[in-house]
Symmetry: C2
Subunit: 482 residues, 2 copies
């Protein structure tokens, strides 16, 4: 405990250092915020400037701290929200004051209180509307705050106009410093983040699928350490997770990107929503990839000997899918259109090979022992190397599985252990005890591969639509492929 406590500062420093190295923009953003705050503090500290603005400098600080976000789009969006919220609230407050002035002082307190209640309720309720929650949650918050401040101030102070004017000035100063920092000095664009994260997702998917298929056909008994397998599995999962959990971050980035003026030069909006759509298509593609991955971890497994027969055609299809995804990523990265001609032939051929291979082994799906024996013979005929034969592989796997289960149970608390003993996990045993056609899982694997190729088309279509809408440059040969 004490040692852990003593090590805390060192590990914290390490984490901070690593974070900065991973993405130096974070350090730059920190410096930018610090610089903006220091500039505003000059308003307060320097004598001549203090006379003019200083008294309201606090509001400028608040604006900088709250509005200056990591990306330019987010800053613009928040600044706009803050400005608009303040303006709307001021006008409404003046209107209310105008009405309230007609009533007496006693009534006026009640009137102000009632208007605070009504506007408070309405603003809070409005924040539940999905559209407002997404686009101007912050604006409504600022609206409510400003409205209350002005309405209440007008009750005690004579000249509210001055308060409001100073307020607007300081918010203006704060916002303009934010915009300056965010747009002109080393800006981070949400749009670029979205673009590169989409490219990254395509690459991750390609890598995961390649790893998954090669894993499926790998001989696990031959010198692969548990740790290595573990890390490769983690890598696979991270690839999927980044794709599958990207929905909200994609939407946020696209929302902020639509605020950024950078890419809409040619008088037409850059199609950020198509990135979100592409993200959706990629997620659906990812579901198939995860299901494919599930074949690796399934309880019933096709014996490796059967898999060997189909290794080449399956790997071929997977390679072609990987190639297509990598090519898509490259074309997107270089902002050029995708040219799928060269891919279609290979993909077609790979599918045909798989088809031929499956047809050439019609008895596989019989699922009887005889088929297995036949396979073992076939395998022994083909390779004379003294590899493990089928039965031993199977018993190996079940041995490992049962061992794992025992470990798991041993770890549990006594209470649950008793319950476990009373009732062994029902369906796992059921699945094991059944002699399901052993090729069934492989059929699923192959079918998912084919399904994946079909989904790939949707991805390609979506990337093409994006390329058209965003006016990507035409493909001009392989030279610009990195």
């Amino acid at each position: 405990m004490m040692i852990k406590f003593r090590k805390l500062p060192a590990s914290a420093c390490k984490t901070l250092w690593k974070m900065g190295r991973e993405d130096p923009r974070r350090v730059i953003h920190g410096l930018k915020v610090a610089a903006a705050l220091t500039i505003v503090s000059f308003l307060y500290l320097l004598e001549p400037l203090f006379e003019g603005f200083g008294k309201n400098a606090m509001l400028a600080f608040m604006t900088v701290v709250v509005v200056l976000e990591f990306t330019a789009g987010a800053t613009l969006c928040k600044g706009f929200n803050r400005g608009l919220g303040t303006l709307c609230a001021s006008s409404l407050a003046f209107f209310i004051e105008f009405v309230a002035e007609k009533t007496g002082q006693k009534c006026r307190a009640a009137f102000v209180g009632a208007s605070v209640f009504v506007i408070g309720f309405m603003a809070t309720y409005l924040r539940f509307v999905p559209y407002i929650k997404k686009n101007c949650d912050y604006g409504v918050l600022i609206f409510l705050l400003t409205f209350i401040l002005i309405t209440l101030s007008s009750y005690r102070v004579e000249n509210v106009l001055n308060i409001v004017r100073e307020r607007l000035y300081t918010i203006g100063i704060g916002c303009s410093i934010c915009l300056l920092m965010s747009l002109l000095i080393l800006p981070n664009w949400s749009g670029e983040d979205l673009h590169s994260s989409t490219v990254c997702k395509l690459e991750q998917l390609a890598r995961s699928i390649e790893a998954c298929v090669s894993d499926y056909f790998k001989d696990k008994d031959i010198g692969v350490k548990e740790e290595e397998a573990e890390t490769s599995r983690n890598l696979l999962y991270r690839g999927y997770r980044e794709v599958l959990d990207s929905k909200s971050s994609d939407e946020t980035l696209a929302h902020f990107a639509s605020w950024e003026p950078r890419f809409s030069r040619n008088c037409h909006k850059y199609p950020w929503h198509l990135y979100v759509k592409l993200g959706g298509v990629l997620r659906r593609f990812g579901y198939v990839a995860v299901a494919l991955h599930g074949c690796l971890e399934s309880e019933i497994q096709t014996p490796r000997s059967i898999r060997y027969i189909f290794q080449d055609p399956c790997t071929q299809v997977a390679t072609e899918v990987t190639k297509a995804l990598t090519e898509l990523a490259t074309s997107l990265k270089n902002r050029r259109r995708f040219c799928p001609d060269m891919l279609s032939d290979h993909l077609h051929k790979a599918l045909q090979d798989l088809d031929t291979a499956i047809k050439s082994q019609p008895r596989l799906f019989l699922g009887s022992k005889s088929a297995n024996n036949m396979l073992v013979n076939w395998k022994n005929d083909k390779e004379t190397s003294p590899r493990v034969t089928l039965p031993s592989v199977k018993s190996d796997i079940s041995a490992i599985l049962s061992e794992l289960r025992h470990k798991k149970i041993a770890k549990r608390s006594k209470d649950s252990e008793e319950r476990k003993q009373l009732r062994p996990t029902p369906s796992k045993l059921a699945i094991k005890s059944l002699e399901f056609s052993e090729a069934l899982p492989f059929a699923s694997f192959a079918s998912l591969l084919v399904e994946m190729v079909a989904r790939l088309d949707l991805v390609i279509e979506q990337v093409e639509e994006l390329g058209n809408a965003a006016n990507f440059k035409e493909f001009q040969g392989k030279d610009d492929v990195v």
Copy 2:
């Protein structure tokens, strides 16, 4: 355009009304915020109270608007963050002032500016640390703001202690009103939201799987309207989406729930993290469900005649899975332990039936025309009803598909149309032109069903772990099942 504009208020009112009816807690929350604001405004409006606190009432308003969140946990978390941030910032600011006092007035300005820069940078950079971003982002923000305000005030004002004291008082008043409103008056608990959303996810999954399997075996030619199919498909998707996209909302709810004092009465923490874990297991289960659903939309389809053979065992397995999920949902809803004994037998039997059915049709997976013909014969033998035979079904589906494709192409712009004509979508055609073993997709379907049963075990395990950790009551017969 004008008509749309005129209709806008009506439709907006409708949306707002619907939102309130869907979840009346939203209206209540709105009223609570409005009441809290009105109470604080009394501090300002009423003469005797104004003398005491009124001048700083603005800070109390700000606290109420920002801290009073929808659920009790979120309010507690934010209130704590605000309080701690203010306290830390005050102490640091006093320390800085103590050091700064030793230096001269000129140096002091530089010293204050430098400390603003350094603290500004550090606080902004710290907000990127994942742990801090998750737990105390708001606290760091408040820390930075308060620190700047106090440090700068101390440069101009003599007695800073007063400012700080008043600040803390008003924040205290704001926070206590928030806590009162949030914890004592019709509280919304994040924990309950998390609990019921988990129950809802289980139910949604059960419904989706049932619909998916019945859809797979449904005869589409017989009087099912396109619209109905569309709505049922949307229903299916919504079920999955709620499960698959739940990660961030689950984590947020669990984080806030861990702040809530309600369920940790027995001196041990309620295991909210296990809900997050269960959510993860459900997501993995959902991937298989989506892949199963993908079989409905796949490009290559097993002829309906083949599916008919396996309809009963498959439906049986799906029914058992649905039953198990519904039972899990019910037990979770009633906070009692899950009793899977009665399920295991049925599930086992259903799996065995499926196994038998698949084994009884070994020639299905041959994929040659002869198998198809055999099937048609078999089917005709079995049912003498004059249903469509295989070839016509197949050509029907391809006709529909090609028609759809034509429509799609017609909708595209000319540019892309030309490109399309040059290069027809590669793999779709490739898939169609291959005579893939037609039973392959069904094998995938069956395999995914079996896989789903295996994953169901993990879900059951997780629910049991949750039940143990949360001390759910023991199962006592069917009587309390709703």
